[in-house]
Subunit: 248 residues, 4 copies
């Protein structure tokens, strides 16, 4: 088996110039935005990524069918413009895996014709935020003006000095692939799945990509996601417990 | 040396269409059922699996002979039908190893002609259970009806949202090999080697595979296994202690 | 992607016989000395090293541009003598990675014509030091006399019994490349970025390589570095927090 | 660089039929016995093993020269019989590394003509022992009688159910190389470098290999080794401290 496996629908219409990443992270802001967009737009799944760098377990869906830990790519086309979405429940569980997975995402993106990636995340500030700012980072100086024009802040001291995981590495490694990278981070407490921060990020993203998405269900989705995370935390505890049962 | 080594008896009669997995896990339910079946039926060992993903140690058998950490495959044939059993004392000690070992088991299963794998385990509920339910998961929708017909429950919220280790991955990765996968999980407190939960799982499995196994010694085996685990926990503590002695 | 990637300016004048290493370590002594020299001398960057053994994150520079975690090599030439500097913010985050990165640095050094490497570091004593001693170690007996002549101490019991990370491995692995190795360690409390210890090490190094560097800004640089480290510690805490957000 | 590197004196007389392993472990019993024998017999070093699975650091010898973490093989010949000794300060720092290093030792042993390996260790009982027993394990049933004849005990319940690290794996993996393996374990509290346990093991080993070694300096060597370990523990603490200084 390969360390990373990509199963992709081999079809005529799977390409796209814009990739939007929303994997798990602080406040699940990126995940919430990307999955909300997929649902609202009715994007279609075109690829699945499984990997030995994901947790060694299967999930069980509502029909009782097991599914390997996986991330997914969806596609939505409108007026001749195609958008791809990278979403899922997992990031790597090792440092090396983070690099190798992000590189695999970029290779796939390149094959699909992606020219720009937007990575979405939360910027945890540790307290409730009234007026949520959206912070930005880019992987090429030419991109900054366009992003700032939509109200995104580039501050000297925030976010700390780095972006962790796929949201950062897709920009950092993306340069080597000639793919433009823009990271949008909504302020969030970091303690809950945060629909308000997601709202702020979605507003900015919508203007940047010229695509309007209904936001009325965002709050509802955040509640569902919170419930899901409770279950997942439960599973994680079970995993710790179970690993004690593996002799040796 | 290979990362995973399979030593197999190259013989005419080593194949089988059904593989039953009972590796260590919560309540040792799967291990207890599978090893009980092997003993009662007089199944014969046909393969041994050793791996750098197992703990770096040898066990000493009753004759004072060292044995590498290993898992084993046994075979039992009756009326022209052959059953294979995957048992042993170990699962991987790394996340990546879980995937690679499960994949190696499946490759071997495919070579042996396996068309369906039953993975057996416990579902830890954290308290004593009076009426033990057997929960199920399958890797293809077509399999569910057959399993439900034997009283196995497919509930929306249990087991949490996942199955960890080989019991899960053999189903998840099995799809890619075209191997049907059914996981049976007996409710158990999770604190002891649980013969009652094993009894419940064995009942269901017997009906599913059409093979009756005497159960009178199940309780006795559970006691022996509990004693073995005490020794193993002792060894684990020794390992922690010993590793402190490795300079550097 | 390669496990370690070296991007190097392919130019006529990139070689040098002397390599000075100042990666992060106790009291940031080596880092402070090497970066101070680069700034004062106006050395030019000739290579960048990125790796899956570095933390999986990007930093954001003052212009809002993301940068992969990387180490760098600078070059300064004067009177026909060329000096190379290996600096950066990272060492490996795994034991194996330490070896593989140090070996990659040495391969590159060999290609660049390096005949001798000076590795710089702090020797943490756990308390404030009045008269800072500079301790030494070499990878060949012939080197000792030259180093002792500049006041460097070779004591039987210090530094403990070893040198950890690149500062040690560049000497240990360097022998195999036929590269002379000298390690200079300034005593330091270990609690702060220590300009006084850096001063002591720089004094010795200047005499050894016959290159005078203005030291007036050393204290100032230490303060800046201390502020940077505060930010980095902040980021590290954020990383721990964020990893809790990666499901699975 | 290779994951494991063996530098061996290519000479006519480097072979030997007996290999004696004394790497670090509980009570440093095996290390003490093997290093004592090397010193008393005046055995000569014929090989050095370095590896990325050892700690990423160099030690500094009495002359101030750095040395990579390494294990060593010594050789002693008398009356046409040659004995090899595997000693050093390190075992692997990863589970996989334990397997890969032990396998590399065995490959080398096979090249050198080794037919039998004695692995030496302590069996920690957690309290002071008056009459020290020597416990045994072998990798082939035929070996047991010869070992029992020298007073070595094969008990059903000790040592726990396993032998950890090289002492165990050289036996377990040795079978595949056709190399006979005998493990001798002296009872020890596990809290100190234990010359009394080493004495008991050495007595048995001497009779088994037919080689008398003066024991008067065994106690003295234990004291020196204890002092060395104090230094090493100190270094380990320093390593933890230093790693906090590696940004990222």
């Amino acid at each position: 088996m390969d360390d990373i496996t990509i199963q992709i629908a081999r079809d005529e219409n799977i390409g796209g110039k814009i990739l939007i990443e929303g994997l798990p992270g602080v406040g699940q802001v990126g995940k919430l935005v990307a999955e909300h967009m997929i649902d609202e737009l009715g994007a279609e799944k075109i690829a699945e990524i499984t990997s030995i760098y994901f947790p060694p377990q299967v999930t069980i869906n509502e029909e009782g069918i097991t599914e390997l830990a996986k991330n997914e790519i969806y596609r939505y086309e409108t007026d001749g413009r195609a958008f791809l979405f990278l979403v899922g429940d997992f990031q790597s569980n090792s440092s090396e895996g983070h690099y190798l997975l992000s590189d695999a995402y970029l290779q796939l993106a390149q094959e699909l014709g992606v020219q720009r990636v937007y990575t979405l995340g939360g910027y945890g500030v540790g307290h409730l935020v009234e007026d949520i700012r959206v912070l930005g980072a880019v992987n090429h100086p030419d991109l900054r003006e366009e992003v700032e024009a939509q109200g995104v802040l580039f501050t000297r001291d925030e976010p700390g000095s780095g972006i962790i995981g796929a949201s950062g590495l897709l920009l950092g490694l993306g340069s080597g692939y000639g793919i433009e990278g823009i990271c949008l981070m909504g302020e969030t407490s970091g303690y809950i799945v945060d629909p308000k921060s997601a709202h702020a990020v979605l507003q900015v993203l919508s203007r940047l990509i010229g695509l309007v998405v209904d936001e009325t269900k965002l709050e509802e989705r955040a509640s569902e996601m919170e419930a899901l995370f409770d279950k997942i935390r439960d599973m994680e505890e079970k995993r710790s417990q179970e690993e004690l049962s593996y002799i040796g």
